[in-house]
Symmetry: T
Subunit: 150 residues, 12 copies
């Protein structure tokens, strides 16, 4: 797997409930199923998956990624932490790996508090509203971005 | 204990300090003592107790309760997380078990930031201001609510 | 009735319409039926009921209760006055009888203007969201509170 | 009068002073004169008039109208209560009769506090700025609306 | 047509889609059908109709009306421009012809941004919520207003 | 009493409780005692006193005063209505008698909501913070003001 | 003059222009004339007058008054400093002499920025809107207040 | 071209200046070059391009797309209109074609006014921050979305 | 005209009505007359004039000016677009020609919404309140600015 | 110098530091040099210069100018006092001499707090962003304004 | 070590990255190096160090410190938790040990969200902006504070 | 004294009252006593002291310090000017000497208006809450800072 581009797919608060949680909003597929589909779709990449409900563990994972020297980009769905975790924001700012913020639902068309992300300002870009395909687009965005770097 | 109605009494940030922490506000009895009194008062119920200072662990406990298939209702005192943990809010929304939000003190008569709960909108109801008896009322509210369900 | 604990169940704006008004929110039982059930449930108490659409009459009733020397606690559902009647707030603050604020619906899960109560700050506590059982819990809360007083 | 369509023309705070009160804003005709003109203009309707300075009495009148089973629509000028009486708002929401909110002056071209109505959201529609003719338009609006109902 | 009173019925953003656009909100009749009905209802008037999606063209039409010397009043449904077009506001203020602001739906009962009109302050009055009959009422309001002018 | 200058001392919400209500804020003298002292202090004036907890009755009293043709000035302590009763504001604006707004306590040094008066803008002036002597100063202010009128 | 009660009449920003400055708002009499009338009206008091355009000098004067040991009360018209000088506020709070805030015009009926006083919270009370008679009332308020102190 | 899926790539305010305008933010390639690359990348699709500086023309184009019956999806970069054009918002809501909002730069990491989009709430989703590749991702998102529809 | 310095005098919303529109605010001279006077006053310059009510056309004119290679500076009175047209703002930012924002009236002394300009931040400077002489000063400002450039 | 038009060039907080203070913002020339250039440029005028760091002294100078009977106009750069000195605002309002507010830098393109001037509302107009030439334009604006007065 | 004064140096979110994270803001030294220097500088003290990315663990550490009976003071750099962790705030309030809030950078000169600390209100004091020397000052502040206690 | 490092200890509004003013907040020692202790504690430094109640004089002192060429750092307690004196802010920004903002009390734990400093953004750092020892820490902070400069 050494020659493949390594990316991290990072999932935060409540994403372990995908498939069970409000399926009319988040779809009926589990995080495991979504991950499997991504792995199959991107056979040319080394996709790594991590999920935690804990803000602190997500911060540590961001640093692990940086310190590993292997991960070249991160697709991050922080769940509700998106809207208030300044600690995650500082962690993203503290690492040099580009991070793409993704959301399954269109967070701009839901409750007002979901319109504001404290992470966006330090991310490469944002993708929101395409169900599990948001992850797919996030991976493509990173591939494109990384291919332009010397 | 199989035939009893099972409820979870869930406690969040700083509630481990009850009895020691600002007793003029929170009373002089510990969480253990309060739990014991509740157990005695509700001999007809199967009351389960859990406390954590960690937002992530509280989320996991909510999911454990759901997945156990045993817990029929939750009395939740989230402490200060009440006022900003959108992750806990999403977890409550993600499970089907009814949750009653309780507070020992009258949170509406204290600092302005305590007036706002990000959890209330997804809870069954709110009980605030009756000291440890708030838990008692919360249990009764759940009993009443569950008895009306077919 | 002299030896029973006397409480006042006070109802404000639009509560006369219970049973007819938006039953999906407020339930299908009338205020009279609710009162009757309360009286039956608390045969050991002397429950007094009063309702008015008028802010001024509600203020006067609060003072009557105080001046009677009989009423030991008040369960108060002020209806929409909850959200702006500073005059009622001052009346509650002006009497020494403890007042418990109750709501049938979970006011925190409805229109934004219902999230703010100008009364809570001067009440003993708040109970919201348990239908007519909110009154029941309010009576219990007062009983518990009054039993702790010397 | 049995076969005529019955409507209620309801007037709230300070409208008893029409003709005397700031005539450059509200015109020089009294509420009685305006009512008479309306009655004459709509000989085919059974117009009923009620005025009160009291929020509570206005609420009661709304319920009387509903309970009478006669009134089919209400033209309501709540005066300054328009801007803060959530109790009136809830009363309008609690009845099934359609209510048209009217104002003599153009409330949007005066002091900022007059721009906000807490009633509009639960009314059929709003007519503002045409002097006493606003009532006339309100009646017409109700006639048109009621004629479309099966 | 020289002796008839001439009015302009002016329609702004997105009103060309009436009949097709969200019919549960705006009704199922097209702007053409509504115009025809108005013309028939007011055979004694010379009603002129103009619609544009362009803010600039609407401003020009307001000036054309003024410069024509023929138009005596304007019924204006500016669509979403109502809520932010200060340029239209200044144009209305710059002409001497009275303008009545109308809306098909009750704009005060929809999204918060629709509650604020930047035009109302310089209009004669506002009519909102009566479907296509709002235009009818607007024409009547102008007729009444113009008949009172010397 | 015909030749004396007639003034109205008008008291609103909760002022009937003076002497009993929070005496550290409002003093220990009743409204009756305060009125008696005023009458004695101003033997050269015809002082009339009225109190009501009801917003509607206060409005009616303002109109009665105007219609009596006798009252030349009003000293008004509206209690908590000061902070939200736009209906009282409109009533004050609707009469020609000058009104002086008075408060026993210094309302600017208490809860934030007491800093805002919706009445001040239509009153002659404001006097706040001198206990029952605020009424005394209010009477003097009116005497001085009325003596300057031709 | 030793046996008379000594008060300080303190004037701040722009009050030197009285008589010349916007006489429709502030009256046509100069500060000197107003001072003279006050001195004559209160022959039983030792009234001291000071005016400065400088915030710093006003602070120093407040301290001089305190340090003199003679001044028993202060009537203070701070002019526009009323609305932002937190330094003056701290100076008033730092001295033990009671201060009455006065204004010639009714500051609550003018520009919005004049509605807020940063001084009121640390003053004994506020008098606003009675022209130069506001000073007169301020002196009386202090006399009354000081006579109640042991 | 009949059998290919037809999409519209719609560009609004100031996007004609791409390549010349602030290239450190928007890149150095012109809109024409970007369009050409898209056409080449998606040979299996029928991509249509339209640009206008005019809000009105953009609205008309959205309606043309709907009326054509050919266009199945729209990738829309509205430029600065994104942040205030409620007229465009209503147009997007008025059509049934799904619209994906795209931005070249990460609008959440620039001036505060760029953080708010009035369009997002009625779009399928949002893609922001990937330079011209944002269009590429928008097309993919639509392809994926449309392939899931029956 | 080749050797003269070329400037563009650009006018936006409602400025075509100068002379007719609220002359107490905007003066009694037409845009044509003002332009003529400017041309005469600056015989040494090549002044070009353009006016449009359309936001889109104003944007196009800004780009035309840039692309012409002739225009060295722009005096821009955007009318009401000043307060919300972020599209015009982006257009000004996108060109390299310096733009001076001018207003006939003192926009800071009128309605609150006129105090905010979304254009100022990307303009060279602002001149407001000197009637048609504001244009004159704008031209002088540009001449001075351009003479300092190498 | 008797026959020349006399103007005052008034400078407030921190303008003594010109030339030394942040020259990339304020330029490298001192206030003395700027004054000298102005004097030379306007040999036909009697220009008077005054600077003070003190709010109180600036107020006094405004009054001196008024009382001198000589000064016909004032060009005023109040520095940071622009943004909060309501005392200076009242002083400008209190005199009859027209005042032009000037700024060296474009205050609208810097920190948010610099966007708001409490002085503009009572000034003739505002000129901002042209370096020392702002003073030059201010003098011209006054000359033009004064020449139009009878 | 028994006789030395024991202090806890507590570090929160992202401080493990010191030396690597944005060194132009936070300096180039690691937390370990900073700790070592502190230990050397304060040989007379028993300094204890703890770091965690987890809000819950930080709360537990605060309670451990209290329960140990050894720790006399805490120097706390909470990182981004400073700005929203009400749970940490309550924990600080719940213990009796004095806490000094420190920051490496001057948090008041960075992004607006960093200006607000939810912890300061319950801390002894705040030190911000002196790089790693902020810790040094924090230790000195505690030493001084503790030496004044009896 | 030539070889010692020279610092300025600058005190603003109301600090002359230390020892007399609210000693429970500010301590019981005078500014003179505090200065003396500082001088003794830092025998190796040349400490200079200056106090003024006047904003203008404080600005001048800051410039004197800069112009003297002797002062290497400033410890500044601006008192209440901290919260609104933008003129002082600009003066601090205009000089090159580093300034440390200090406060005796913990300004973040008092009235809300004291939480905001307009000076912090242009200071080196902030120290608040350690009584007179705040000055001591401020001197140490400057010493440390200056020792790191080449």
């Amino acid at each position: 797997m050494a020659d493949k581009l390594s990316l991290l797919i990072l999932n935060g608060a409540n994403l372990s409930r995908l498939g069970k949680r409000e399926p009319h909003i988040y779809g009926s597929r589990t995080l495991r199923e979504i991950s499997q589909t991504l792995t199959e779709s991107f056979a040319d990449l080394d996709l790594n998956f991590f999920h935690s409900e804990s803000e602190g563990e997500l911060i540590l994972k961001l640093y692990d990624a940086e310190d590993s020297g292997m991960i070249r980009g991160i697709v991050f769905n922080a769940g509700a932490y998106t809207h208030y975790s300044l600690a995650l924001r500082d962690a993203i700012a503290a690492i040099s790996i580009p991070v793409v913020e993704v959301h399954l639902s269109n967070v701009f068309a839901r409750e007002p508090f979901r319109r504001n992300s404290v992470l966006s300002e330090v991310c490469l870009g944002v993708i929101s509203g395409f169900g599990e395909y948001s992850y797919h687009l996030g991976v493509l965005a990173l591939k494109s971005h990384l291919s332009q770097k010397p």
